[in-house]
C-alpha cells in the first residue's frame, strides 16, 4: 500500500498505512500527551487527553487510536483542545489524593506531568472523592486504588499481553474500580505476578513492593542489561542507587521483550544484594571453611592442579563451565581447561537439557538451535508446542505464542501430558502418555503421508532419504498410535491437517521431549515432520528448541563441550587443532573429553581426581544426587566458583566468590542466538571478582599466562577464532543485541 499524507500543525509528512495520528506526531516531534496508551496494547482511546482536532471530523479524535487517512489535516494545539485536555486533567485530580510528596511515582507520573503542564494543583470540583484504598495483602504488587485513574492499562495488559485475566473493571459510574473476582487478594486469582500491570500503570496506583521507600526512579542510575534467568534473554533496565538494585524495568523499544517481563526478571533480583553472597575466597582447613586471600586461594589451586596433572596426567582433571556465565567466561573457561590444564574434560549442564537437541538438529539441519527467531512466531499460521510449558518456563516467548494465537488467529496444537496454560488456548490438546512422543509425531506424519499433504517439491529439492522415512511411517497408523499414546485418531487427524496445511507452521519444543532416553529421536522426528511439509526455511515456520538457561546457547557456542571448541570446531580435527594451537600458543589435547555424566562417573571410580566447577550446582541439577555426592567426596581436590554457598560448594576444598550478572560486563546468547550485552550496574560485592579474572589468574598461576583487561578484550579474541562470532563486536551489538 502506498504512503499516506498527513499534515500536523503545518508539518507535512507521509506515514505508512496503519500508523496512528500519535505515531505521525512523534515522527515530526509534536508532543501529544497520553495516559491510557501503551504501545504494547490495542488502541483503547479512553482517557481522552490525546484528543486532537481533525479537519472535517464531527468531534475531536483520540490521536492514540485514530488511524491516519490520506490527506488528513490535524491540529494538536488549538484552544479547544487545550481546554478539553485541561478539563480531563482537572476531572482526574478532582478524585485524586495528589500525595506527590510521598508517592513512589513522583517525577515519573503521567498525571503529575499533565497537572504540572496545565498548572492545576487543585480542582474546582468539590465533590466526593474516593477514600484511601490501599490493598496490602498482595505479594510483589502494591495496589493504591485511590491513585488509580482507571486508564485500564493494567486490565488490558493482563488480558491482551499476559493472557492471565486476573483483574477487570468492576461496578459502574463513579464506583468503577479495577478489582479481582470478589475483591480478594491477587493471591487467589489467576495473577502470575509478572508485574506487567505495574510496568504499564502511568501513575502511582501500582507499585513494585520491593521498591517501596528505596528511592524514586529519577534518583536511580539506569543500566541496560540482560535478564539472568531463562534463555529468552529479555532486556532489563536495572535501576540502582549506590550498589543496591532498587527496581527493575524494561524499556518499551528494546530487545526481545519490548517492555514485557515475567515475575523472575522483574522481581527476582534480590539475590544480587543478598547478605548470603560469598564475599571472599574460602579454603577448607580441617573440614572447616576459613577466609583466605585471593593469592592464597589461587596458588593453592595451582599447586594442587599441577600436582594432580603431573602425577596422573591432565585427564585426571575436569571442569564444569556454566550456562549462567557470559560468553567471555565460557570461552575463557574452556580455553583454560584445554590450554592451561591440557584436557578436553570440559562440559556443562546443556548435557542434561538440550544435548539431544543439539545432536538431533545438527544431524538434521547441520546446526542445533532455533531455526527461526522469536519475533517470527507472530507470522506463524499454526504453532505446534510439544514438551514445553512455555508460559511458565519461557514466559515472554509464551506471550508471543499466545498473542499469535489470540490476535493473529494462529492455530495452536499442544502435545503435552499435562494440562498447562497453553492448553486453554489450544485448538487441539493431545495428552499423550509420557514417553510416546515419537509415536504421536509418527502418527501425524503417517496421516500427512496418506493424505498427500506433504510438500513434494521441498522434499525433492532439499531432503534426502524420504523413502526411508516412508517405510518407518507405514506402521504408525492412527489406530496403532492411539493404542500407544492414548491420543485419539481424530485429534491426530485434525492436528495433521492443521500443521500440514496452515501455510506456515512452527514447532516449539523444550525439555519435555529432550530429557528422555529417546530425546534425540524425538527431536529428529520433529525435524522430519517439518521437512516433509516444507515448514523450514520460511517466515513463521521452523523447528524451535527453547533453551533453558540464560546463556546455555552461548556456553555451547563457546565450546564448553568436551568434543568441540568454540563455534563447534571439532576437537581432534587437524585443521582445528592447528588453528587453536597457533592462537593459544600451546599444544592441545587431541581426544574429546568426558561429559558431565562421565566426569562424575569417573570421579566416583577415582579416575578424575581434580574438578573445577564454575557456576554450576551438580548436587541439585544432576541426576542421582547420592551418586554425585559420592563422586564429589572421592575427589582429591574440588574448586567451586560461585556466588553462593551451594549444595556443591560445601564439598569444595577451595571456594572462589564470583559475580552476579549485575556486577559485570560481557555477553549472553539467547535461545534464538541473539548475542546481547550485559553491563555492570553496581560494584562487586566484598572481595568477589569477575569470573573471567579469576580464571585468568588461576591459569597464570598454573603457568599459562592469561592477561585480559576487560570482557571486551576477550570478545575480540572470540571474534578472531570463532567464525560464527567473527563480527559480533560490542560496538555492533550495543543497541540491537545482534
Amino acid at each position: 500500500m502506498s504512503q499516506l499524507n498527513i499534515t500536523i500543525n503545518e508539518n507535512k509528512l507521509t506515514v505508512s498505512p496503519g500508523s496512528t495520528i500519535l505515531d505521525a506526531a512523534k515522527a515530526v516531534g509534536v508532543h501529544i500527551p497520553t495516559l491510557c496508551h501503551d504501545p504494547r496494547l490495542k488502541p483503547y482511546g479512553a482517557c481522552r487527553v490525546c484528543l486532537v482536532e481533525v479537519e472535517g471530523a464531527r468531534a475531536p479524535m483520540p490521536a492514540c487510536a485514530t488511524k491516519v487517512t490520506d490527506g488528513m489535516v490535524v491540529s494538536t494545539d488549538t484552544e479547544k483542545i487545550h481546554r478539553l485536555r485541561k478539563t480531563v486533567v482537572e476531572l482526574l485530580i478532582s478524585d485524586h489524593p495528589l500525595e506527590c510528596v510521598t508517592c513512589e511515582q513522583c517525577g515519573d507520573c503521567g498525571l503529575q506531568d499533565l497537572a504540572y503542564r496545565y498548572g492545576l494543583n487543585k480542582s474546582r470540583y468539590i465533590g466526593e472523592r474516593h477514600p484511601l484504598r490501599e490493598q496490602g495483602d498482595d505479594p510483589f504488587i502494591q495496589r493504591n486504588l485511590d491513585k488509580c485513574i482507571l486508564c485500564g492499562r493494567c486490565v488490558r495488559i493482563c488480558d491482551e499481553v499476559e493472557s492471565a485475566f486476573a483483574i477487570d473493571f468492576t461496578y459502574r459510574g463513579f464506583q468503577v474500580q479495577v478489582g479481582t473476582d470478589y475483591g480478594t487478594s491477587l493471591k487467589n486469582t489467576s495473577c502470575e505476578f509478572c508485574g506487567q500491570c505495574i510496568s504499564s500503570c502511568p501513575v502511582g496506583a501500582l507499585i513494585e513492593k520491593p521498591r517501596l521507600n528505596k528511592g524514586r526512579t529519577w534518583e536511580t542510575k539506569k543500566t541496560l542489561t540482560i535478564c539472568p534467568y531463562c534463555g529468552t534473554g529479555c532486556t532489563l533496565e536495572l535501576q540502582t542507587i549506590g550498589d543496591k538494585i532498587v527496581n527493575v524495568a524494561a524499556p518499551l523499544d528494546k530487545g526481545v521483550n519490548r517492555g514485557n517481563l515475567c515475575v523472575k526478571g522483574r522481581f527476582g533480583y534480590q539475590f544480587v544484594n543478598s547478605n548470603d553472597r560469598l564475599k571472599t575466597p574460602l579454603i577448607k582447613k580441617n573440614g572447616k571453611f576459613v577466609e583466605a586471600t585471593w593469592s592464597e586461594a589461587i596458588s593453592l589451586i595451582a599447586k594442587k592442579f599441577n600436582g594432580i596433572k603431573s602425577a596422573h596426567g591432565a585427564d585426571a582433571l575436569a571442569g564444569f563451565s556454566s550456562a549462567k556465565c557470559t560468553n567471555e567466561e565460557n570461552y575463557l573457561f574452556q580455553k583454560f581447561m584445554r590450554a592451561a590444564v591440557g584436557t578436553n574434560n570440559v562440559d556443562h549442564c546443556a548435557r542434561l537439557c538440550h544435548a539431544s537437541t543439539v545432536a538431533g538438529l545438527a544431524r538434521a539441519f547441520g546446526s542445533g538451535a532455533m531455526t527461526n527467531s522469536i519475533d517470527d512466531f507472530a507470522k506463524a499460521k499454526a504453532i505446534l508446542v510439544i514438551g514445553s510449558n512455555t508460559t511458565e518456563a519461557h514466559p515472554i516467548i509464551g506471550i508471543n505464542i499466545l498473542q499469535a494465537v489470540r490476535n493473529n488467529g494462529a492455530k495452536l496444537i499442544v502435545i503435552d501430558p499435562r494440562k498447562i496454560k497453553l492448553t486453554q488456548f489450544a485448538d487441539i490438546w493431545m495428552a499423550q502418555r509420557p514417553g510416546s512422543d515419537v509415536a504421536v509425531i509418527n502418527g501425524i506424519m503417517n496421516i500427512i503421508l496418506k493424505e498427500g499433504w506433504y510438500d513434494q517439491k521441498f522434499i525433492e529439492e532439499r531432503t534426502e532419504d524420504f523413502d526411508e522415512l516412508k517405510k518407518i511411517l507405514d506402521a504408525y497408523t492412527p489406530e496403532k498410535v492411539a493404542e500407544i499414546s492414548g491420543v485419539s485418531p481424530e485429534d491426530l487427524r485434525r492436528a495433521a491437517d492443521i500443521y500440514a496445511n496452515s501455510g506456515a507452521s512452527s514447532i516449539v519444543f523444550s525439555m519435555g521431549i529432550t530429557q528422555h532416553s529417546t530425546g534425540t529421536d524425538n527431536v529428529l522426528s520433529l525435524a522430519n515432520l517439518a521437512m516433509m511439509t516444507g515448514n523450514v526455511g520460511r517466515e513463521g515456520t521452523g523447528v524451535n528448541p527453547l533453551r533453558g538457561q540464560n546463556n546455555v546457547q552461548g556456553a555451547c557456542d563457546m565450546g564448553s563441550l568436551p568434543n568441540v571448541c568454540c563455534g563447534y570446531q571439532k576437537v581432534g580435527d587437524d585443521g582445528v587443532q592447528a588453528k587453536f594451537q597457533a592462537a593459544w600458543g600451546v599444544e592441545l589435547p587431541k581426544t574429546p573429553g568426558l561429559t558431565v555424566v562421565e566426569i562424575l562417573n569417573s570421579a566416583a571410580k577415582g579416575g578424575v581426581k581434580g574438578l573445577y566447577v564454575m557456576g554450576e550446582n551438580p548436587m541439585l541439577s544432576d541426576p542421582d544426587s547420592q551418586h554425585v555426592e559420592e563422586a564429589l567426596e572421592k575427589l582429591e581436590f574440588l574448586v567451586v566458583q560461585d556466588i553462593f554457598m551451594t549444595e556443591t560448594a560445601v564439598f569444595a576444598d577451595v571456594i572462589l566468590p564470583g559475580l552476579t550478572f549485575a556486577e559485570r560486563d560481557g555477553t549472553f546468547t539467547n535461545t534464538e542466538r541473539r548475542v546481547q550485552r550485559i553491563r555492570r550496574a553496581i560494584n562487586p560485592m566484598g572481595n568477589a571478582r569477575e569470573d573471567w579474572r579469576i580464571i585468568s589468574d588461576v591459569a597464570t598461576a598454573m603457568g599459562y599466562p592469561m592477561h585480559y583487561e576487560s570482557a571486551d578484550e576477550i570478545l575480540a579474541e572470540i571474534n578472531s577464532v570463532t567464525p560464527s562470532y567473527a563480527c559480533i563486536t560490542t560496538a555492533r551489538i550495543s543497541d540491537s543485541g545482534f
Binding site: 488502541p43 483503547y44 482511546g45 479512553a46 482517557c47 481522552r48 487527553v49 484528543l51 468531534a59 475531536p60 483520540p62 487510536a65 488511524k67 479547544k80 481546554r83 478539553l84 478539563t87 480531563v88 476531572l91 482526574l92 478532582s94 478524585d95 474546582r124 470540583y125 468539590i126 465533590g127 466526593e128 485513574i149 482507571l150 485500564g152 477487570d168 473493571f169 461496578y171 459502574r172 459510574g173 463513579f174 464506583q175 468503577v176
Partner: protein
C-alpha cells in the same frame, strides 16, 4: 334469554384481552380468567383470545369485543366488570355504554388517540395472539420473506430498504439500507445480524410492546436482513427485565422453526438462518452497539472506539449489522407495500412512522405511532389530549434520559431527526415525557444526570467523572448552596463532556443540562440567587406548612406522613418539622380540608392545589366520621 339466538350471535364474535406487560400489571390475567368463567357460566361460545399491547396504556386492562366487523373496546376493566360485560354485551347484545372507550361511531378521546395514528410497526399489535404464529400468518406475517426469497436477490432487498429511506430507530438514525449495504459488501465469510432489544431508556417501552405483541414482525425483519446481508445467524439481545418478551420470542422462534421459517433451507430456498436470544443484565450502556457486542461475547459491556464499525468488524470481529427492534419491525411492511409507499410517509429526510411512548403529565399516555414530520403539538395535544388534569404545558423531554427538554416555544417543531437535533434534543429511541409546571427543571436535569452517572461504564474520563461532577453541582444548586460561578462551570463542563466522551452515552448525557440551562435559565438562577425552587419541588428549598387557621385537627396527615415529621394528635394543632420533612407531599394529598401548602422561600408561584390528588372519598368519609364520632361520643 334465548340460548339459541345467543349462540348464533357469538360464534363470529371475538373477545380479545390485552395481555402485554402493562395489561398484566393492571390485572389482565384475572380479567381474562373472570371473562372465561362468566362466558362458561352463561354458555357464551364467543372466542376468548389473548393479544399484546394495544397502546392505550393509561386505560389498561383493555378488552376488545369484535362482532360482525364492529369493534367495541372497554377500558380500565376489572374482574368485577366481567359479569356485566358478558351478560349485557355478549348475551343480550347491549354493549355497556358507560365503560366503552372506543367504538366505530362513538367520538371519544381514545377514538382520536387511535384514529390519528397510522400504524405500520404496531400494525398487528393488539390484533393477534402473539403466541400463535398462525394468527400472525393469517394477517400477512412471513409473506415478505416468502416474497423476497422467490422474487428478489439480496442486492435488490438492500436497494428496496435503501429506497424506502428507513433510518434506524435505536437513536442514531443511520440509514438502514446503507448499513445493510456496508455489511453486505464487507469482507468475511461469516456475518451476523443483531436485533438490539435492550431498550434501556427508563420510560420507553416501544420495543417491549412490539416484542410482546407481534414478535413475528421482528423475526421476519431479521430473516429479511439476514438474507440481504448473507448472514446465517441472528442474535436478539433482550434485556432480562423483559421476561414476557423473551418468552414470546422463544415461542415465536420455536414455532417459526417448526414451520421451516427458521433453520436450514428456509421455505425450500438455499437460505439458512437461525436466531439465538441473549439476555442483557440491565445496563443502559449495553444498548450501545459495541458494548452490546462485547456483552454477547461474554466480556464486560463497555463501548469501544469506532472505527472499526460493526459493519466491518463487529461480533467476534465479523461484519455485523445491528438494528433496533422497531427498525426491523418496519421491514416486512416495506417489502410488501413497496419502498415508494413507505417513502411517501414522513419528511424529506425522515421517512415513515415513529413510535413514541407518551408518558408524564399527559391526559392519554401510551404508545403512539405517528408519521414523521408531525408536530410536537399534534402529538401532545391532539393525540395525547393535552396536559393531565387541566394543567399547563411546561416542557417535553424527548429522546430518553440523555435527550433534551423543549419548552412551549418549540411545540410546533416537526418531529423528524434533523429538526429535533437542531433544538438540542434528539429523537432518541422515542421516549416522550410531558411535563407541566409542577416539574422543576433543575431537579429534572439532576434526575437524568444521576441516571447517566450511575450507568456510565467508567471507561472514559469525561463521562465517568464529568457526569459525577455535573450531578454534584446540580445537587448543590437544588440545595441552594451553589454559586453563580458553579452554573458557568456546569455549563462549560457539560459542553466539554459532550465533545470529548467516547461513546453516545457521554456524548448525550449533558443534553438535559444544556437544554434546561438554555431554555429555563431563570429557574437555575432562582435556585442560586433567591434560594427558591419556583416549581416547589426541591426539598431543601421548600417548606410544607399547615395553615393552622383552617386545620380541623383530624390528624389524618400524621397517620400518612411516611417519616413521622408531623407532630400533634387529634384535637390538637398539627405541626410539620421542616428538618424531618422530605417534601413528599403525602400530607397535602390526604388532608381533607386543603389546609396544607408548600412554600418555597420568598416566592409562591404555583398554587398548592397542583399537588393535590383529587380528594380521596374514603379519606373524607373517614374523617367526617371522625368528627361525627367526636361530636357524638367525644364526651362519653
Amino acid at each position: 334469554m334465548n340460548k339459541k339466538k345467543t349462540n348464533t350471535t357469538n360464534t363470529n364474535t371475538e373477545v380479545i384481552v390485552g395481555l402485554g406487560s402493562c395489561g398484566l400489571a393492571a390485572g389482565a390475567g384475572d380479567v381474562f380468567d373472570a371473562l372465561a368463567d362468566e362466558m362458561k357460566k352463561n354458555g357464551v361460545d364467543a372466542r376468548l383470545k389473548k393479544t399484546g399491547c394495544i397502546g392505550l396504556c393509561y386505560k389498561e386492562v383493555l378488552i376488545d369485543i369484535i362482532s360482525d366487523g364492529v369493534k367495541v373496546s372497554y377500558g380500565n376493566v376489572t374482574p368485577a366488570m366481567a359479569a356485566r360485560i358478558v351478560k349485557e354485551h355478549l348475551v343480550e347484545g347491549r354493549p355497556v355504554d358507560e365503560w366503552i372507550i372506543f367504538k366505530k361511531d362513538v367520538v371519544s378521546g381514545e377514538n382520536t388517540f387511535l384514529k390519528d395514528q397510522k400504524r405500520i410497526v404496531l400494525r398487528k399489535c393488539g390484533l393477534i395472539d402473539p403466541e400463535d404464529i398462525e394468527e400472525a400468518i393469517a394477517k400477512g406475517g412471513y409473506e415478505a420473506i416468502k416474497k423476497v426469497l422467490s422474487e428478489n436477490s439480496p442486492d435488490e432487498v438492500v436497494a428496496i430498504v435503501k429506497e424506502s429511506g428507513l433510518r434506524g430507530r435505536g437513536g442514531a438514525g443511520f440509514t438502514t439500507g446503507l448499513k445493510w449495504e456496508f455489511t453486505r459488501k464487507a469482507e468475511g465469510d461469516q456475518k451476523y445480524i443483531i436485533c438490539n432489544a435492550d431498550e434501556g431508556d427508563p420510560g420507553a417501552y416501544m420495543d417491549r410492546s412490539v416484542l410482546e405483541s407481534d414478535p413475528h414482525a421482528v423475526l421476519e425483519g431479521m430473516l429479511i436482513a439476514g438474507y440481504a446481508i448473507s448472514a446465517d445467524q441472528g442474535y436478539i439481545y433482550c434485556r432480562a427485565e423483559y421476561p414476557l418478551a423473551i418468552k414470546r420470542l422463544n415461542i415465536g422462534i420455536e414455532q417459526a422453526r417448526a414451520k421451516g421459517l427458521l433453520g436450514k433451507n428456509i421455505l425450500g430456498h438455499d437460505f439458512n438462518f437461525d436466531i439465538t436470544i441473549k439476555q442483557g443484565a440491565g445496563a443502559f450502556v449495553c444498548g450501545e452497539e459495541t458494548a452490546l457486542m462485547a456483552s454477547i461475547e461474554g466480556k464486560r459491556g463497555m463501548p469501544r472506539l469506532k472505527p472499526p464499525f460493526p459493519v466491518i468488524s463487529g461480533l467476534w470481529e465479523k461484519p455485523t449489522c445491528i438494528n433496533n427492534v422497531e427498525t426491523l419491525a418496519n421491514i416486512s411492511w416495506i417489502i410488501l407495500n413497496g419502498a415508494a409507499e413507505y417513502a411517501a410517509i414522513g419528511t424529506e429526510r425522515s421517512k415513515g412512522n415513529k413510535v413514541f411512548a407518551l408518558t408524564g403529565k399527559i391526559e392519554r399516555s401510551g404508545l403512539v405511532e405517528v408519521p414523521m414530520g408531525i408536530t410536537l403539538r399534534e402529538i401532545i395535544f391532539d393525540i395525547g389530549g393535552g396536559i393531565k388534569d387541566g394543567g399547563t404545558f411546561k416542557a417535553v423531554q424527548i429522546g430518553g434520559p440523555t435527550g433534551g427538554c423543549l419548552p412551549e416555544d418549540f411545540l410546533d417543531t416537526y418531529v423528524d431527526y434533523d429538526s429535533l437535533t437542531k433544538t438540542g434534543a434528539t429523537m432518541g429511541s422515542g421516549g416522550m415525557v410531558i411535563l407541566d409546571e409542577s416539574t422543576c427543571m433543575v431537579d429534572l436535569a439532576k434526575f437524568f444526570m444521576s441516571f447517566a452517572q450511575s450507568e456510565s461504564c467508567g471507561k472514559c474520563v469525561p463521562c465517568r467523572l464529568g457526569t459525577k461532577r455535573m450531578l454534584e453541582i446540580l445537587e448543590r444548586i437544588t440545595q441552594g448552596i451553589a454559586s453563580a460561578e458553579e452554573l458557568d462551570l456546569l455549563e462549560s463542563l457539560a459542553v466539554d463532556v459532550k465533545m470529548s466522551s467516547l461513546c453516545g452515552l457521554g456524548q448525550t448525557a449533558p443534553n438535559p443540562i444544556l437544554t434546561t440551562i438554555k431554555y429555563f435559565r431563570d429557574e437555575y438562577l432562582s435556585h442560586i440567587h433567591d434560594k427558591t425552587c419556583p416549581a416547589k419541588v426541591c426539598v431543601d428549598l421548600i417548606d410544607v406548612v399547615i395553615n393552622q387557621d383552617l386545620c380541623r385537627q383530624c390528624a389524618v396527615c400524621i397517620k400518612h406522613c411516611p417519616v413521622q415529621a408531623i407532630s400533634g394528635a387529634r384535637h390538637e394543632y398539627t405541626v410539620i418539622d421542616p428538618d424531618a420533612c422530605i417534601g413528599c407531599r403525602m400530607c397535602i394529598s390526604v388532608c381533607p380540608w386543603n389546609t396544607i401548602d408548600v412554600d418555597s422561600p420568598k416566592q409562591l408561584i404555583v398554587p398548592a392545589e397542583k399537588y393535590r390528588r383529587p380528594v380521596n372519598k374514603e379519606n373524607v368519609a373517614e374523617s367526617v366520621r371522625c368528627k361525627a364520632d367526636e361530636s357524638r361520643g367525644g364526651g362519653a
